[in-house]
């Protein structure tokens, strides 16, 4: 269902919705918003943009290869999970097919951007050296690992953003991937019975959530400023992870 369909659905539920408006033009304004929202995904010549920029800066290549490694991990994980006969069904299959589509697209995008500089796909061990022996036989284990990967991905991209300031086109693409990882993370958390947002530094494995319980942002203690709880304040921000922290999280999954 796209946003224009949603608007039509609103009209079905509330036939008078437009009659409540002061001006007929409001309808056009609202439809315009929906239309633009739908069309907001702009086509970009990714490969050429990235190729042009990365050649100027080895730090950019390093960041993109770091990102590519994480995307390889996620893509293969979901490809195996969704490909295993009878393992995922119904809502789980719908969800993880959509996520797998995006992770495979991220791999293809980053590989095309990096060209000959792209790292090769590592071999993975999704049991994490035996820590998760049921990762592809127990849905709960699969969900737990998926949540860890997605929340790590969100925090990992965030940690690299500052290094991409010299390459604004690549920074924008990285942010566009980052926000999609967050869409995934929230849905996987929901399937896992959790809130869509991270409370304090709660979650498993602990390293994925370490340091997410920050209440001071921009030098301001937001619990003190707003009178809202620590839980609510920490939910409102996702903290970055350093590259070293991310590698420590994912290294058990490298075969």
């Amino acid at each position: 269902m796209n946003l224009q369909n949603i608007l039509n659905e609103i009209e079905k539920v509330d036939a008078e919705v437009y009659e409540r408006l002061d001006h007929v033009s409001r309808r056009h304004v609202f439809q315009n918003l929906m239309k633009k929202a739908v069309l907001g995904v702009a086509p970009v010549a990714f490969g050429s943009i990235l190729n042009k920029a990365y050649a100027q800066n080895s730090a950019v290549v390093e960041v993109l290869n770091f990102a590519l490694t994480l995307e390889y991990l996620e893509a293969e994980f979901y490809n195996i999970g969704t490909g295993r006969a009878g393992f995922l069904t119904g809502e789980a299959m719908t969800t993880f097919m959509q996520i797998a589509k995006h992770e495979n697209a991220h791999v293809a995008l980053l590989k095309s951007a990096l060209g000959g500089a792209a790292v090769a796909k590592p071999n993975f061990d999704f049991t994490a050296k035996g820590a998760f022996p049921t990762v592809f036989t127990s849905y709960q284990t699969f969900l737990a690992v998926a949540q860890a990967f997605e929340d790590t991905g969100v925090r990992a991209y965030k940690g690299q953003a500052g290094r991409l300031i010299p390459a604004p086109d690549i920074l924008t693409v990285a942010l566009q991937i980052h926000s999609v990882e967050a869409l995934h993370a929230a849905k996987v958390r929901y399937l896992n019975g959790n809130k869509g947002w991270i409370v304090n530094s709660n979650g498993f494995p602990a390293a994925v959530y370490a340091g997410d319980d920050v209440v001071v942002q921009g030098g301001v203690n937001l619990v003190g400023l707003t009178g809202l709880s620590m839980e609510r304040v920490t939910e409102a921000f996702d903290e970055p992870l350093t590259k070293e922290q991310v590698l420590a999280i994912v290294s058990p999954f490298l075969a």
């Binding site: 409001r26 929202a37 990714f46 924008t172 942010l175 999609v180 849905k187 942002q217 939910e235 409102a236």
Partner: protein, 249 residues
């Protein structure tokens, strides 16, 4: 449509008085609690969501200048502050006049999102200090707050537009610290988008739907919008006219 209690003017005066932000909010929450059962009363309350602790409230018809978005980090922060004001006001209205059939889970999710947006708004206001734009006046007259489909549909759009705004604005920031701060917020806005999508279109791909994530085989990218595109989208929902100067991207 039922009317709000007669004491609304008094409450509003309290809110716009000299109380601290926290006290003002506490009173406001008590007010919400008292009126939650009143049902939908759009015309009566839509102009009362000006941030009670904002540095000077703007007036309908005013022109608010965000400054040099694209040249100056202050302009970008004020741009974000404007968007967070709008989102916070929207969810305050949603919780104040809940749509028909809002269940406990939905109320808790929407209340948490409201609080996140208030926290974001307060952060930007504090960070900007004397350079902050005034409190804005929302115009939600085109939104039927009594309809679940309408509210969740608009919420999903606001969140998706918010994400695209942050994605598009990252490159305009000169300070790495501000970029990181924006990054901490945008992913939470994306989490909101996902969970609201699940409420609206459960058990589908809507949480990361092809309408908000490019489904191309070498893409998988979320939306990114330039400030002028975002301002054009949100202008109908704000009584003041918001302008800002941007450079071509």
């Amino acid at each position: 449509m039922e009317k709000l209690p007669n004491d609304q003017t008094d409450v509003r005066q309290m809110l716009t008085g000299r109380e601290s932000a926290a006290l003002g909010r506490r009173l406001f929450m008590r007010y919400i609690g008292a009126t939650a059962a009143a049902g939908v009363a759009l015309s009566a309350c839509q102009n009362e969501l000006v941030d009670p602790s904002a540095r000077g409230a703007a007036r309908a018809g005013d022109v608010i200048d965000l400054g040099d978005i694209g040249y100056d980090d202050i302009g970008v922060l004020n741009y974000a502050y404007a968007l967070e004001q709008l989102e916070a006001a929207f969810y305050m209205q949603v919780i104040m006049t809940p749509y028909a059939g809002m269940n406990g889970y939905e109320r808790s999710v929407l209340t948490e999102i409201r609080d996140h947006e208030i926290i974001h708004r307060e952060l930007f206001k504090a960070a900007l200090g004397g350079k902050a734009i005034p409190g804005l006046t929302p115009n939600f007259s085109s939104i039927n707050f009594g309809s679940r489909a309408a509210v969740l549909g608009v919420a999903r759009t606001f969140e998706a537009v918010g994400v695209s705004a942050y994605n598009g604005a990252g490159r305009l920031l000169k300070s790495a610290d501000y970029l990181t701060l924006a990054g901490k917020i945008v992913s939470v806005e994306a989490r909101h988008t996902s969970i609201i999508s699940e409420l609206l279109n459960p058990m589908t791909t809507s949480f990361a739907g092809d309408d908000i994530v490019n489904p191309g085989p070498a893409s998988g990218l979320g939306e990114a919008r330039k400030p002028e595109e975002v301002l054009a989208l949100v202008r109908p929902f704000i009584q003041e006219t918001i302008n800002g100067r941007t450079q071509p991207q």
